[in-house]
């Protein structure tokens, strides 16, 4: 992948309004939950004994923000299919997989910057609200930096999941529904699966694994933070490879 493709993809990403709106939606979601949930807990009786921790409370927006950033990931490529401009793009860059890689790199950089900033903002806002409740914490406490940085990593990975789904499915609505299913619906449904087999599925299923990097305390039966992120990225890589193969083979 050449720097030419990267520059071109950066121009494409920054020159459509949906990029700005989905990024703002993601940041606002993080911040809103980061303030409102701590506020609710701070106003409850005896917050210190709620069994909650200040870090996770300030990052509760993750669940929803993962969907808005996934929408941006989807649109990054499905927008070109919707308008037909994908053909013009392929005329300029016949190496289609190269172009997909270029999109992924540019998206990753932009998303990491925005989501990490949003995660830190939410964290600090949340701690301000929690001040005096006994739940407030600092970046110096064990695991906190990993958790807050992890929130940016998890969100960006979710965006990449949207991007590879967009490349695979090529239709905005279909790809967004698939992203919601994979990030939100299926991981929750998997909790209902019975037995050892069900437990394994639940542990390894997409966001159940990926979200561990953005949680301060690993819940019983879940993967360790970095292992969880690794599994999430593996899901993305597998879908990405399928998408790349089809991208190469299919008529545009």
């Amino acid at each position: 992948m050449s720097t030419l493709v990267l520059r071109s993809e950066w121009t494409k990403l920054r020159s459509v309004r949906s990029t700005m709106w989905t990024l703002i939606a993601t940041a606002v979601t993080m911040l809103a939950f980061g303030i409102l949930l701590p506020l609710a807990v701070a106003n409850s009786s005896n917050p210190a004994e709620s069994g909650l921790n200040g870090t996770d409370l300030s990052l509760t927006g993750l669940g929803l923000a993962a969907l808005t950033i996934a929408a941006l990931g989807v649109l990054t490529i499905s927008g070109e299919y919707r308008t037909g401009s994908i053909r013009t793009s392929f005329l300029a860059v016949p190496g289609r997989v190269n172009m997909l890689a270029g999109k992924a790199v540019v998206f990753t950089v932009v998303s990491l910057v925005v989501t990490t900033a949003a995660a830190f903002l939410s964290f600090f806002a949340g701690q301000l609200v929690l001040d005096g409740t006994g739940l407030e914490t600092t970046l110096g406490a064990p695991g906190v930096v990993r958790t807050v940085v992890g929130a940016g990593l998890y969100l960006t990975a979710s965006g990449l999941l949207g991007l590879v789904l967009g490349a695979l499915i090529r239709h905005t609505p279909g790809a967004i529904v698939s992203a919601i299913a994979l990030i939100l619906v299926l991981p929750q449904i998997s909790a209902l699966l019975p037995g050892q087999w069900g437990e394994t599925v639940r542990t390894y299923l997409t966001s159940n694994a990926g979200q561990q990097i953005a949680l301060l305390e690993t819940r019983p039966g879940m993967l360790e933070p970095w292992a969880g992120l690794g599994v999430y990225l593996l899901w993305i890589a597998v879908i990405g490879i399928v998408a790349a193969v089809l991208l190469h083979r299919r008529d545009a």
Binding site: S15, T83, R87, L91
Partner: protein, 300 residues
């Protein structure tokens, strides 16, 4: 030197054959018209040339290489396929800039091509608000970005107003005069008659004709002599060629107008009309593509 070479190019979608065993060459320095009724396979062929669709069999080369093998292809070949296939939210300038950057073309060239097609004033406006004519110009600007030797236009005048049509026509002639290869598709013979030097005609995905425009006329209808006379029934059997009654006159082929006149004079018959009717490209096209039109209107 050939710019584009198609060899036994075939494209099937399931049981449907879009393009069948198409072999042709497109040469530089002239406008080559790619003519055929709607659904004849013109766009499919163009997409295969440009590496967007994969041929079922056969191959197509650009200066001996496939499209995928071209490095920074916009510098070699420019194409306008569908002017509406752009992201409406982007400005004209950013649309062209993203394309230019991917091929190492300078931002200065973006300004230049906007100027060439007369869109400088709307460079900062979103493409979504462009008229059809403006969109077409933007598409041509995109094709011109890399100052390419080869240009491909798919139905470039579709939906344009007369002024726009004239502009596109003049522009294509100018490109060919500069020595470039211009390959342009149309389903309208009348359009090609005014633009093209050479014609490649296809119908139902198959090659029907590959000839100079002048030559093309001769391929089908040969013209006829129109004869009007109050004594047609006496005259008809005397004429050497084939005579067909059309209303109140005869259409005679195979003999010249002079021969008809001499025959009539010898027999002492009165002539009211004696005209040689030149065949038109339109007529030749209709003749050649007869039976290869996907849906034909039934005469009422």
């Amino acid at each position: 030197m050939t710019a584009i070479t198609a060899t036994n190019l075939t494209k099937r979608y399931g049981a449907t054959v879009a393009v069948q065993d198409l072999t042709f060459e497109v040469l530089p320095g002239r406008v080559t018209g790619f003519l055929g009724p709607n659904g004849a396979g013109k766009s499919t062929t163009m997409r295969m040339i440009l590496g967007l669709d994969r041929p079922t069999s056969g191959s197509v080369k650009i200066d001996g290489r496939s499209y995928a093998e071209l490095r920074r292809p916009l510098n070699k070949i420019g194409a306008l396929l569908d002017a509406k296939a752009v992201h409406g939210g982007r400005t004209a300038h950013n649309h062209l800039l993203a394309l230019a950057q991917s091929n190492g073309i300078s931002a200065k060239r973006v300004t230049e091509v906007l100027d060439i097609v007369g869109l400088t004033e709307v460079a900062g406006r979103r493409i979504g608000g462009f008229s059809l004519g403006m969109g077409q110009r933007l598409g041509i600007a995109a094709a011109m970005l890399g100052d390419p030797e080869i240009l491909i236009f798919d139905e470039p005048v579709n939906g344009l107003d007369p002024e726009g049509i004239l502009w596109v026509r003049t522009f294509m002639r100018k490109l060919a005069a500069e020595g470039r290869t211009v390959f342009v598709s149309s389903h309208l013979m009348s359009e090609m008659a005014q633009t093209a030097d050479h014609l490649i005609v296809i119908g139902k995905g198959q090659l029907i004709a590959d000839a100079e425009v002048g030559e093309f006329i001769g391929l089908s209808s040969q013209g006829y002599v129109r004869v009007g006379s109050p004594q047609l029934s006496q005259l008809a059997p005397l004429l050497g060629g084939e005579a067909v009654l059309h209303g109140d006159h005869l259409r005679v082929t195979g003999v010249t107008a002079a021969e008809v006149g001499e025959t009539a004079a010898r027999a002492g018959l009165v002539l009211h009309e004696l005209t040689f009717v030149q065949p038109t490209l339109e007529a030749a096209y209709m003749e050649l593509t007869k039976g290869s039109v996907e849906y034909e209107a039934v005469a009422a």
